[in-house]
């Protein structure tokens, strides 16, 4: 007998609803009493914030304006497209993305590409070419093979992009390509098909050194589990080509 998703969700919720929902009063009483006897841990920057609180109002306004100006300047530097300015050739119906180009790294985090072990991290390359922006993922330490998820990038909004799988052929041999399922902690996810679309939101940290990709839906589950996470900028690695 097969249980549909909807049936299973309904049964699971009903089963979870069987359990108690109210915290006993004795727990609340114990917590309140413990709080009365327990000091809070103050962060080290408490003195600094107190100093700001004690500052005359006009001085505080000046400091705030200076800080805001610095933050705005940094944000402009970080958000400005770099390599793709003037080089991207938008295709029909596509617009150049503003996602930061360059190389980014992330730990493997239980992700397996079914390739011989050795690499401990993955590299995400976002490159700008005459044919628009592209990205791909490569296992660190293996510059020739194990490249996957070659996708074109199209801007959907200021902070969202649409990725389209442009190649599922093994890129570099050894049998691994975008069509190969990826597993996370032993659970396999379906590989990509040519043309699979995925929409992602990207959020760049204020210092520009990390970027989080949030999946808003991807037809390729393997690409989604690899891409949707925190990536750290890798300034030492030149941007490779796919």
């Amino acid at each position: 007998m097969t249980t549909t998703n909807r049936d299973f969700d309904r049964i699971a919720r009903a089963w979870l609803d069987l359990m108690p929902d109210e915290a006993p009063d004795r727990v609340i009483d114990a917590v309140v009493k413990a709080a009365e006897a327990t000091p809070q841990v103050r962060p080290h920057f408490g003195r600094v914030t107190r100093r700001f609180r004690d500052m005359p109002r006009f001085a505080l306004v000046g400091v705030s304006a200076a800080v805001a100006a610095v933050i705005a300047g940094l944000a402009l530097l970080n958000l400005r497209p770099t390599a793709n300015v003037g080089t991207a050739t938008p295709t029909a119906g596509a617009s150049p993305s503003t996602i930061p180009t360059g190389t980014w790294t992330a730990p493997k985090d239980g992700i397996s590409f079914y390739t011989p072990s050795g690499a401990t991290s993955e590299l995400l390359a976002i490159v700008s070419t005459g044919n628009g922006d592209h990205l791909f993922v490569r296992e660190q330490g293996f510059p020739v093979d194990r490249t996957a998820f070659l996708s074109s990038i199209t801007a959907a909004s200021d902070s969202e992009v649409v990725l389209r799988v442009t190649s599922v052929a093994p890129l570099g041999g050894r049998g691994f390509g975008s069509g190969t399922p990826v597993s996370v902690d032993g659970v396999a996810f379906a590989g990509c098909k040519l043309g699979d679309l995925g929409r992602y939101r990207w959020v760049l940290a204020a210092d520009g050194n990390s970027m989080t990709l949030f999946s808003l839906g991807d037809a390729c589950p393997s690409r989604e589990v690899v891409l949707a996470r925190l990536w750290t900028r890798n300034p030492s690695t030149p941007t490779p080509s796919p």
Binding site: M1, T2, T3, F8, D9, R10, I11, A12, R13, A14, W15, L16, D17, L18, M19, P20, D21, E22, A23, P24, R26, V27, I28, A30, V31, V32, A34, A35, E36, T38, P39, Q40, V41, R42, P43, G46, A106, D109, G110, I111, S183, V184, D185, G186, V187, F189, F214, S215, E224, V225, V226, A228, R229, L230
Partner: protein, 182 residues
């Protein structure tokens, strides 16, 4: 609520008491479902809320108080489960003081099958399952709560769902029942 959180962050114990009353039921429900033991859930909740009081001044966004304390509760559940080495083998039957389930929603057989299968999951897989199906969090939110990549949260949910669904389906298959109870 932001105002109450900010007062508690400044050390106002009365405000913190209000927060405890406002959130403890929801947090206890999560802990009870992850641990499947109301006594362990009480311990986890108590530990998490006291930790919350101590660490509250470091909370960066007062509007995220409940998400932040939920994270503390889940991690307290992890600690509670690991502290009890024989926890999995000694799960007590929960007192029947929870809301009664309408009979038409879930059969006794399904309930028993789910109870048994849930005990086979790791505490991390349970947490993802409860946060998704009980709290209604999306995978990205679960990943943020647990401090794991979204792919890890997804794989845990996938595994838990597979195990629990298989338990229900096996229960419905008359031939499978003998081996399952062995």
């Amino acid at each position: 609520m932001r105002d109450i959180v900010e007062r508690a962050m400044r050390g106002d114990r009365e405000a913190f008491g209000v927060l405890v009353v406002q959130t403890s039921d929801r947090l206890f429900a999560i802990a009870a479902r992850i641990l499947r033991d109301s006594h362990l859930a009480e311990d986890a909740l108590q530990g998490a809320l006291i930790a919350a009081w101590r660490q509250l001044p470091a909370l960066r966004d007062p509007d995220r108080f409940e998400a932040w304390v939920r994270k503390l509760v889940v991690h307290a559940c992890y600690a509670e489960a690991r502290r009890r080495r024989s926890w999995a083998a000694n799960v007590r039957i929960l007192p029947v003081d929870g809301p009664a389930a309408p009979d038409e929603l879930i059969s006794v057989a399904d309930r028993d099958a789910l109870d048994r299968a849930f005990r086979r999951l790791t505490i991390e897989q349970r947490a993802v399952f409860v946060l998704h199906h009980h709290v209604g969090l999306a995978l990205v939110e679960i990943a943020e709560t647990l401090g794991v990549p979204a792919g890890t949260a997804r794989s845990r949910l996938h595994y838990a769902t597979r195990v629990l669904r298989a338990a229900i389906e096996a229960d419905a298959a008359p031939v499978a029942s003998q081996g399952r109870l062995a």
